[in-house]
C-alpha cells in the first residue's frame, strides 16, 4: 500500500516537467521606457530592452504603441522569438512629456502584475525615454541596469534618493506629501542624473536642478552621507566651499494661529570642510565661526527660496502636509483645504551648521 502511494506521489512530481523554460528562450526585459505616442489612436510608445541570453553584451529592443502596458504585450511578443517576461525588470523611464500628462495608469499596471516587484526604479527622462534606453554606452552596454545601479549608488553614497514603485505609490496615495522622481539625461556618450521632477498627484509640474535638490533633501530627510557645495561671499569675494560626510538632523514644528500656519524647520548639519577656495587660514577659531555663519546664511536663504518656489508651484515634496496633518485633529485636517492653505504657509528655517574638522592640509 505504502509503496503504491509513494509511486503515486512521484508520478505527481513529474508534472513539474510539463512546462520548462530554458533561459535561452526568454526575453527578460531589464528596462522599459514610456513616451507619448505620435500615433493618433494610441497613447503610449513603449520601448523595452532585453539582453540576448545566448550572447554577452548584445541587447535587443522591442517597440510597441498602445494605450496601456498590458495591451502592448502581443505587439512585443510578435517582435521576438523569445518569451517576453517582466520578472527581471530593473528600471522604468517616463518621457518628460508623458510625465506631465500623468503616469499613474502605468504604475497601476506594474502594481497589478505579480511578476513585477515593488523595487523597480522609476525615473523621468529628459527628452524621450526611448532616446535614453537606446543610448549605447561604451563602458556599460546594459543601459537599463546601468541607470538603476547609478541611481542606487547615488542613493547610498550621496543625498540623492532613488525612487521605486513602492515609494512613488506611497507618496502618491499619502495626503501629506507629493512624489518626486529623479530625472535622467543622455548626452550620446553618457547618461547623467539631471535633477528631480516634482509631481502633483501623478503629473510632473516642476523640476529642480541637482544643486537645488540638495536643499529639498535637507528639509525632508536626515542623512548620514553626502556632500554640499556652496558659494559664499567673504569680503566681497565669492569663495567655494565643499563639505563632505555631511550629517543632518531635521525637525519640523507646526504652529497654528487663527487658521494661519507657521512651519519652522530646525536643521542641524555637521560636515568636514574639505574644499575651500578662500585665502584665510582655516585653523583660526574666528575664521571657522565666520565660515559657519556665512554657510548658515546661504543655506537659510536657499531653503527659503526653495520653499517659496514649491509654494508657487503648489507641490509639497517635503512632506509639510504630513507635519501639519499630525498637528491637527482628524476633523480639522479633513475640513482643511490643503491646496489653498499650503501656498499661504509662513515658513521659517533655522540652520545650525557646524564644521566638524578642516582639511588635512592647511
Amino acid at each position: 500500500m505504502n509503496r503504491l502511494v509513494f509511486l503515486l506521489v512521484f508520478i505527481f512530481f513529474l508534472t513539474g516537467c510539463m512546462n520548462n523554460y530554458g533561459i535561452d528562450d526568454l526575453a527578460m526585459i531589464s528596462g522599459v521606457g514610456f513616451d507619448v505616442s505620435k500615433h493618433e489612436d494610441h497613447h503610449l510608445d513603449i520601448t523595452a530592452m532585453y539582453q540576448v541570453p545566448t550572447e554577452t553584451d548584445v541587447f535587443e529592443y522591442l517597440h510597441a504603441s498602445s494605450n496601456s502596458l498590458e495591451n502592448a504585450d502581443i505587439e512585443m511578443m510578435s517582435q521576438t522569438k523569445r518569451q517576453v517576461v517582466n520578472g527581471q525588470l530593473r528600471i522604468s523611464l517616463f518621457g518628460e512629456e508623458l510625465a506631465k500628462d500623468g503616469i499613474f495608469p502605468i504604475i497601476l499596471s506594474f502594481l497589478r502584475d505579480p511578476s513585477v516587484g515593488p523595487l523597480v526604479s522609476l525615473a523621468v527622462a529628459k527628452g524621450t525615454a526611448k532616446e535614453i534606453l537606446i543610448t549605447k554606452l561604451e563602458k556599460e552596454p546594459n543601459t537599463g541596469s546601468y541607470i538603476e545601479t547609478m541611481l542606487e549608488r547615488l542613493d547610498e553614497e550621496y543625498v540623492y534618493p532613488s525612487v521605486n514603485i513602492l515609494q512613488f505609490t506611497r507618496s502618491y496615495y499619502d495626503d501629506g506629501i507629493d512624489p518626486i522622481l529623479p530625472m535622467i539625461l543622455t548626452t550620446k556618450r553618457n547618461i547623467l542624473l539631471d535633477g528631480f521632477a516634482l509631481f502633483k498627484d501623478d503629473r510632473m509640474v516642476a523640476s529642480l536642478t541637482n544643486e537645488k535638490a540638495i536643499y529639498l533633501f535637507l528639509l525632508s530627510e536626515d542623512f548620514k552621507k553626502g556632500v554640499i557645495d556652496l558659494e559664499i561671499e567673504i569680503g566681497g569675494k565669492k569663495e567655494d566651499v565643499h563639505l563632505s560626510y555631511v550629517r543632518t538632523k531635521h525637525k519640523i514644528k507646526v504652529k497654528k494661529e487663527n487658521n494661519d500656519f507657521t512651519v519652522n524647520f530646525d536643521i542641524h548639519i555637521t560636515g568636514n570642510l574639505e574644499g575651500y577656495s578662500g585665502k584665510q587660514t582655516l585653523t583660526k577659531d574666528s575664521v571657522q565661526k565666520e565660515l559657519e555663519t556665512k554657510i548658515n546664511n546661504v543655506l537659510n536663504s536657499e531653503m527659503k527660496d526653495l520653499l517659496s518656489f514649491l509654494q508657487k508651484m503648489n507641490v509639497d515634496p517635503v512632506g509639510v502636509g504630513e507635519a501639519v496633518r499630525n498637528s491637527l485633529s482628524y476633523n480639522e485636517w479633513k475640513s482643511l483645504n490643503w491646496e489653498e492653505v499650503y501656498p499661504k504657509i509662513n515658513f521659517t528655517t533655522e540652520v545650525n551648521m557646524k564644521i566638524r574638522n578642516m582639511s588635512k592640509f592647511q
Partner: protein
C-alpha cells in the same frame, strides 16, 4: 494502552499554527478597512474575542475534568441526536480544511505559478493529510513543531523595514476614516479562527495548569508576536490609502526585501507558508475525522479519513475561482465563528446541569439513606 500526551509547548505551537494562515498576507489591509487609521490596534482588540473563547474552552476542560466533549454531551443528550449534529460538524470542518488548501493553491497560481493546476497542489496536500491524520494527533504535534521552526524565522525579516518605517505615517488619528467595522472585523476574527479545534484535544493533553496556560500563550503569540507587529510595520511603511489598495500588503513588504545573494525572497517565504496552511488543513481534517468517527462508530479509522477526503475533494470542485473560494470561506468562516463561541458555552451549560442533577440525586439518595 497508555497514550502519549501533547507537551504544553506543542499545544501552544499548534494553536499558533492553526490560527495563522494566509489571512496574514492581507491582514493589515483588512485592519485598515475595519478600523481606519491605526487599525493595527484594532487587531489587538479583536484578539480579546478568541481570548474569551479560549477561556471558555479552558473552563470546559477544567470543570469537565479533562473528559472529551463527546462524554460531556452524552451526559445529557441522547446519542441519536448527537450523531447527526457531529456529522454536520465533520463536514463543516473538512470543508473549511479543503477550502483553506484550495485558496492557498489558487493564490500560488495567481502569484507565482500561473500554470499550476490547483488540483495538483490540492492532491499533494490531501496525500499529506491522509498520512498525518491516520497517524494521529501526537504525530501531527511533532510535525507542527518542525514546521514551526521552519517558518518562524521569516518573521525576523520584518526588522529590515526600519529604514522605510516612518512614525509620521501612522498619523495620530485613531480609528478614523471610512470603515466597515462589522463586516471587516469578522474577517479579522477569521484570521484568528482555528483555535476552537483544541476543544477536541482534551483526551490528548495532560490535565494540568500548564496545558491550559499553553492555550493562552498560543493565542498571545499569534496576536502580539505575529499579527500586531506585522500590521504595525505595514501601517508605518505604507501610506494609509496605499495600504487599503494593496490586496496582499504583507507579500508586498516581503517583495521589498533584497539580499545581495537572493532576489524575490517572497516566493520562498510564500512557499514556506504553505507548510503553515498545511497544518491548518490537517488539523481541520483531524477534527472532522474525530467527530465523523463518533457519529459513525462502525467505520474503520483509516477508512474514515479517506471517505472525508474524497467527499470534500468532490465538493471543493464547486467553487472554481479565487473569488468563489473566498466567498465560501467567508461564509463557512462565519458559521465556524459562531460554533466556536457556542460550543464551549453549551458544554459549560451541560456540565452545570449535570452537576446540579447529580447533586440533587445525591441529596435524594442521602435522604433515603
Amino acid at each position: 494502552m497508555m497514550k502519549e500526551k501533547l507537551h504544553p509547548f506543542q499545544i501552544a505551537v499548534l494553536i499558533y499554527m492553526i490560527q495563522s494562515g494566509i489571512t496574514i498576507f492581507s491582514l493589515p489591509r483588512i485592519a485598515a478597512g475595519a478600523f481606519g487609521t491605526n487599525g493595527w490596534i484594532g487587531v489587538a482588540i479583536i484578539s480579546i474575542i478568541p481570548m474569551i473563547n479560549i477561556l471558555l474552552i479552558a473552563l470546559v476542560f477544567h470543570y469537565g475534568k479533562g473528559r472529551s466533549i463527546f462524554e460531556i454531551f452524552e451526559d445529557l443528550v441522547p446519542k441519536v441526536l448527537l450523531r447527526p449534529f457531529f456529522l454536520c460538524l465533520a463536514f463543516l470542518w473538512c470543508m473549511l480544511g479543503i477550502l483553506v488548501g484550495k485558496n492557498f493553491g489558487l493564490l500560488f497560481k495567481m502569484l507565482y505559478l500561473p500554470e499550476l493546476s490547483p488540483t495538483v497542489y490540492l492532491i499533494f496536500t490531501l496525500i499529506f493529510v491522509y498520512f498525518l491524520v491516520s497517524k494521529g494527533l501526537y504525530q501531527i504535534g511533532k510535525t507542527t513543531i518542525i514546521f514551526f521552526f521552519m517558518t518562524i524565522w521569516s518573521v525576523s525579516i520584518m526588522a529590515l523595514y526600519i529604514a522605510e518605517f516612518k512614525l509620521d505615517r501612522l498619523t495620530p488619528f485613531i480609528f478614523k476614516g471610512e470603515k466597515e467595522l462589522l463586516t471587516q472585523s469578522f474577517e479579522i476574527l477569521n484570521a484568528f479562527l482555528g483555535y476552537e479545534i483544541i476543544i477536541l484535544i482534551f483526551p490528548y493533553i495532560l490535565k494540568s495548569r500548564a496545558s491550559i496556560k499553553a492555550m493562552f500563550y498560543g493565542n498571545l503569540f499569534t496576536t502580539f508576536v505575529i499579527y500586531v507587529p506585522i500590521c504595525f510595520i505595514a501601517f508605518g511603511v505604507l501610506s494609509f490609502d496605499q495600504l487599503k489598495n494593496e490586496t496582499f500588503p504583507v507579500l508586498t513588504l516581503f517583495e521589498y526585501i533584497e539580499f545581495p545573494f537572493i532576489e524575490r525572497i517572497e516566493s520562498l517565504i510564500f512557499s514556506l507558508f504553505s507548510l503553515k496552511a498545511l497544518i491548518t488543513v490537517v488539523m481541520f481534517y483531524w477534527a472532522g475525522d474525530q467527530v465523523f468517527r463518533y457519529s459513525i462508530p462502525q467505520i474503520k479509522p483509516k477508512v474514515s479519513i479517506v471517505i472525508l477526503i474524497i467527499i470534500s475533494f468532490g465538493i471543493s470542485y464547486i467553487p472554481q475561482f479565487l473569488l468563489d473560494v473566498g466567498n465560501w470561506l467567508k461564509w463557512i468562516g462565519r458559521i465556524e465563528a459562531v460554533i466556536a463561541m457556542l460550543l464551549p458555552i453549551i458544554l459549560l451549560l451541560i456540565i452545570g446541569i449535570t452537576t446540579i442533577k447529580r447533586k440533587r440525586n445525591g441529596s435524594k439518595n442521602g435522604e433515603v439513606l
